[in-house]
Symmetry: C2
Subunit: 330 residues, 2 copies
């Protein structure tokens, strides 16, 4: 099996015929919070990961609509976006994988959360776009195929096709056709997530670049794949048995281990703001005081709390900036 490029991957799944566009299509895909992180690619063009990963989707995400239009236009959160920006280029490069040259589109996309602040809006964004394209061109792809295609836009988008707990299988094939996500057969309705927004500034280094620099220069990265393997099996056990302490501890250590691989890169990559350190210390203090709350952090300064529904009110009173969510799609 040879590595394919993105276009060849799309053709492997939808064929080469031109699908007739509808007049319009719209979609929603959730933000997902990785409990066992994706960090490092084995193929950078196809976003094939070094390890599998596991996430939980939130009832927040990206809403995207496509309309046939006389020329390409893009609106993000109600504001027109210049097609020369890297955001627009990345998005239309993805659309180009699916359309012929005569199909131009009016795309509107809205995030329930700030863009570019490490809150995985690119994951929900590419997942929503993939779903909208599937509908717009009546491709009738399976969830597995949609996950593979969303992955081409952003690795973690493969997981944002689904609600609840989701595992992205790393796959072993060079063409990536076995690298896709699927939901776990598990529910845990009183498990809750809180977004503690420390900063909504765009991050200083994007996660794609940070990941690559870590793989290339961090002497600790070589210990990461085994860490993930171990954490994945522990996490699945914790989910199966609703062992919240085990889930929280495993998620928190996995996230900090990912940040540790970055800290050891050269130049060092530090997503922690001074306020992130304060927030971490505050959470550890709450835990010492008997409130069972854990956190995870992605490639950005913000913190995602993990707690049980029964502790929501107490936590909200302790941490006024907290936005809490159940994990079930409304």
């Amino acid at each position: 099996v040879h590595a394919l490029n993105k276009k060849e991957t799309v053709q492997a799944l939808i064929g080469t015929k031109n699908y007739e566009p509808k007049n319009s299509a719209s979609s929603f895909a959730p933000v997902n919070i990785a409990l066992v992180k994706y960090w490092g690619k084995r193929n950078s063009e196809l976003n094939l990961p070094v390890t599998s990963s596991l996430s939980l989707s939130l009832p927040l995400g990206t809403h995207t609509s496509l309309k046939a239009h006389s020329k390409d236009l893009l609106f993000l959160n109600g504001k027109q976006v210049d097609l020369q920006t890297s955001f627009a280029k990345k998005l239309f490069d993805f659309v180009d994988l699916f359309r012929d040259k005569k199909t131009t589109l009016f795309i509107e996309t809205k995030n329930d959360i700030p863009t570019g602040a490490g809150l995985a809006s690119s994951a929900s964004g590419f997942a929503a776009l993939t779903l909208a394209l599937n509908d717009f061109f009546s491709l009738q792809l399976s969830p597995k195929e949609l996950s593979i295609l969303a992955r081409l836009g952003s690795g973690s988008a493969s997981r944002s096709l689904f609600s609840g707990f989701v595992q992205w299988h790393k796959g072993v094939r060079d063409d990536g056709l076995d690298s896709y996500a699927e939901p776990l057969d598990a529910r845990w309705d009183d498990l809750s997530i809180g977004l503690w927004i420390i900063s909504d500034k765009t991050k200083p280094i994007d996660s794609r670049q940070a990941m690559q620099n870590t793989v290339e220069s961090s002497p600790l990265y070589k210990a990461w794949p085994d860490t993930v393997s171990h954490d994945l099996s522990v996490m699945k056990e914790a989910i199966k048995t609703h062992n919240f302490s085990l889930l929280g501890r495993t998620a928190e250590q996995n996230a900090l281990t990912m940040h540790a691989t970055m800290l050891a890169a050269y130049p060092s990559i530090v997503y922690f703001l001074p306020e992130s350190i304060e927030a971490m210390q505050k959470i550890w203090q709450l835990r010492k005081d008997g409130l069972e709350v854990y956190f995870t952090m992605d490639a950005g300064p913000n913190i995602k709390l993990l707690f049980l529904e029964k502790d929501r009110k107490t936590l909200e009173s302790q941490l006024p900036n907290l936005h809490t969510h159940s994990n079930s799609i409304p």
Copy 2:
């Protein structure tokens, strides 16, 4: 070869006869800043390290004097210390390795720098105490033997016997008699160190405990020994060729890699204060702006800058809290 305990190690070096005490003795030992860190023990009682390490001594340190006295007394920085404190117990436990029961001492010890703030005062402290005991009991030990004995008090004290660049050889023997430090045959007079004191509060977790927790629970620790091996050979090359960029880069990455192994421990160990993050960002910004300055950090919030003498004035004007030092003993 069997592992010895501390007393047996001392006896292996000085024999079992009682040395006649003098009336008084005094000593100085420098603070040392590790450029390639010591992190993790293979024998906790004897402070035998997992890896070798390399340091640079400062013209600051600990002054210790011993006087024959009718009972044990301890003064630290001019203030009497209760003999029931853990500080006093640790110190007299060390003294007990050398004396018989009828020898009681008035010990005065003064640090040029704050105690317990990650500025390695225990290293210079135990080195100075070892030197003072060697003099007080006329033991006439060699530098290598003194280094082995100082190591029993605090691992990095083995390096504080010497000025300039110092390598501590990890050794392979179970009895630790090949685990000692010695100075490198190298000078570099325009290499300077600045202490940027972020906080002089006593650290929340002592480095002995932090080290042990890291070895036991950090999934990244297994990549640390190879990292040190690599960094040691690069560092020695940088010192030999006076390649400041290589020295700075290697020291900075080595220190952050050590902190990364701690960040990945569970519970996570974070010596960074919010202000440490700000300071790191400030240093990276200065470097981006063309001022070649690097840093290293030990098990505490404070930062040690590495720079060349020619940049001292500029740095002092940029960072008003900085205390700068040449690396040569005055």
